[in-house]
Symmetry: C2
Subunit: 394 residues, 2 copies
């Protein structure tokens, strides 16, 4: 069972720092959860993740249910043991994956029948089964089985999804057995403020250990998302953790924290390890860019991560071009350190009442970086291309 306490607030009480205490350790919030869809964060060992400062990670019940199976994992001692991860785990219920990945879905108040995206095998997941699967996996925090709706959606579709999500949330709560697990409800409602309020009120009335905000990482426009988020958190109790699912880029973390979010998860740092998009204090570095071919500097001279201490942009550029696995891993390590560092800065800013200054500085730096990037790009590219051409490089 988790415990949660708020320590400091800023921004007129909107932003907060806190502590989440779980059976597998305490986590300072606001916190970002790296995602290990199939178990590990791609290419990263659990001890490394802990060394970066992460104490809570996310695993997907949907993927693990399909492979290797929740009962195989249960027999092997549960997910922590399976992954050799000593920190805490949050599993999402599969609600999102079922709606985004699976084929031929049939949804009713009973549950969802779908075909695995892997091999077409048919499965039926109900709220009870989602809880049973997550109980077998043994995460510290488990999620209610919800109905996600893709935007844009009609008011009727959104309303129906809220109704069903509330109905399923009640059944999830009733099905929960393990006292060492904590269950979060998921607020839906799209971008409709009345629906968001309705959904939040429904769940709060039932009383969950925490509340997640779902359906706001599906491609909607940031300003609309932020307004919907604000409405949602305004209707969630202050003394329970709030978790914004599937979010996000650094901007989104700042804006989410400003609106009272305590937990985030997103594949971005690891996925961008693969696309070679590297986060830095001065903007992003797209390592595939030819301008880095001869660049002896680290990704970010201000970064103290193991990658920036040992490898050059030129090397990472080379690894990217030749599709070397080590490159993906190093990129991912850097990005995860960046995210961990950013969350630490955010927590410190809130704790010292300087979150507004932090936020302002964050956007100023971002704008500067953008202007520099635009002016440098063309010139640097031309320079390097010319020098390489002189030397007859292929």
């Amino acid at each position: 069972m988790i415990g949660f306490s708020v320590h400091a607030t800023d921004l007129n009480g909107s932003a907060r720092t806190g502590h989440l205490v779980t059976p597998h350790g305490a986590i300072a919030t606001p916190a970002f959860m790296p995602v290990g869809s199939l178990g590990p964060v791609k290419g990263i060992e659990p001890d490394e993740l802990q060394a970066m400062g992460y104490g809570l990670m996310l695993n997907n019940a949907y993927h693990l249910f399909l492979r290797p199976g929740h009962e195989v994992i249960a027999r092997l001692g549960g997910l922590h043991r399976f992954n050799a991860w000593r920190g805490a785990i949050l599993t999402d219920s599969g609600g999102f994956q079922v709606f985004s990945l699976a084929k031929l879905r049939k949804v009713s108040d009973d549950g969802v029948t779908f075909q695995s995206h892997l091999d077409g095998s048919t499965h039926h997941i109900t709220p009870e089964r989602a809880i049973e699967i997550q109980a077998a996996l043994g995460a510290d925090i488990i999620m209610a089985f919800d109905e996600c709706v893709a935007l844009p959606a009609s008011g009727e579709q959104i309303g129906e999804a809220v109704r069903r999500t509330t109905h399923w949330a009640r059944r999830c709560l009733a099905a929960k057995r393990r006292s060492d697990q904590s269950l979060f409800g998921i607020v839906q409602g799209g971008l409709d403020h009345d629906m968001r309020k309705r959904s939040a009120d429904d769940l709060v009335a039932m009383g969950f250990d925490g509340y997640a905000v779902g359906g706001l990482s599906v491609g909607e426009e940031p300003a609309s998302r932020n307004r919907a988020l604000e409405t949602t958190t305004a209707h969630l109790p202050a003394d329970k953790p709030r978790y914004l699912m599937g979010v996000g880029l650094p901007d989104d973390l700042v804006e989410g924290v400003a609106r009272g979010i305590d937990l985030f998860d997103c594949v971005v740092p690891s996925r961008h390890g693969r696309t070679g998009w590297l986060f830095t204090t001065f903007g992003r570095v797209l390592i595939r860019n030819a301008k880095y071919a001869g660049d002896e500097r680290p990704i970010d001279p201000a970064c103290a991560c193991p990658v920036c201490k040992r490898f050059t942009r030129a090397y990472l550029h080379h690894l990217f071009l030749v599709k070397e696995m080590l490159g993906v891993r190093l990129n991912t390590i850097h990005n995860l350190y960046f995210y961990a560092g950013m969350m630490e800065q955010i927590r410190q800013a809130i704790a010292t009442g300087t979150f507004t200054a932090f936020r302002t500085r964050y956007y100023e730096r971002k704008e500067q970086a953008q202007m520099q990037a635009d002016s440098m790009d063309e010139q640097e590219s031309r320079t390097l291309t010319a020098s390489l051409a002189e030397e007859g490089q292929p």
Copy 2:
């Protein structure tokens, strides 16, 4: 410049331990060199490689010449700096890759014109250019540019390749400039004992810093290879290092050491990281086998590597099936530790005059493992399949 000294011998002087001193550290021999074709050993960081006990690794001049280019690397301070590798490096000259990978090759006494396997661009490599490329890369040990011949080959083809290899070796020696690099000649001759003797004598007469045995990792039958190897080493000076190129599996290391080899290189430990073939003290583990799905044991209970200390066969089996990058990395780490451990055991056996006993025990254990594997396989497979079917796993 390297220094080499023989310390102990066994097997009537055939097997030897020694020390290779390079500008980037000393290496105990016999030693195995992990291969980083495009720079790193796939998925492995240089510091990790050193922690495993490796002090010398191989990089391919052919691949690095094509991408990112030897002059880019030279401008970045050379290969050691590029790779952030503090140990020693041996580059092979590209002789083998040009003959095995490149398209539309035209060979003459002048050199080889070929098309890059990557983009079809045309390149002309001569012995002088091969030395120039390796000088730019800056490895501690560089290789002569040789003509490899695919087996089976006619006596005439083998003789012609020996003649040309000798001719090119002379030009490589003449082209060598850097006094901090050491140049090895490569003995060719296929499986023809007279040709092997001829090639060895030619090179020894010129005087190289070390002698490699080429053309014995191209699919020939082990017994024939070993005989050709024996003939070759019999005609190489005892006070210079002998390097068997592209070899091999554990058996091949034992047999190579028995015939006086000091250095080996092979992609096997890393390549088999990707195919899930794991080396153990009791035989190989093919991690994809269904029998490991519920196996809580480490790959090898007798292994002290970081993977065996933390992860189960079940987890590695899962990672393999879901094609997770971390699985490849962990498999590779284990295999590299295995190889490093085996070479250490070999060195100790020679130093204590117990190599024969080591060799005997090695083959006994191998045979036992084979018998066990054959009898267990079928039974274990059926058991696990049945139990999984009972639980309705997909």
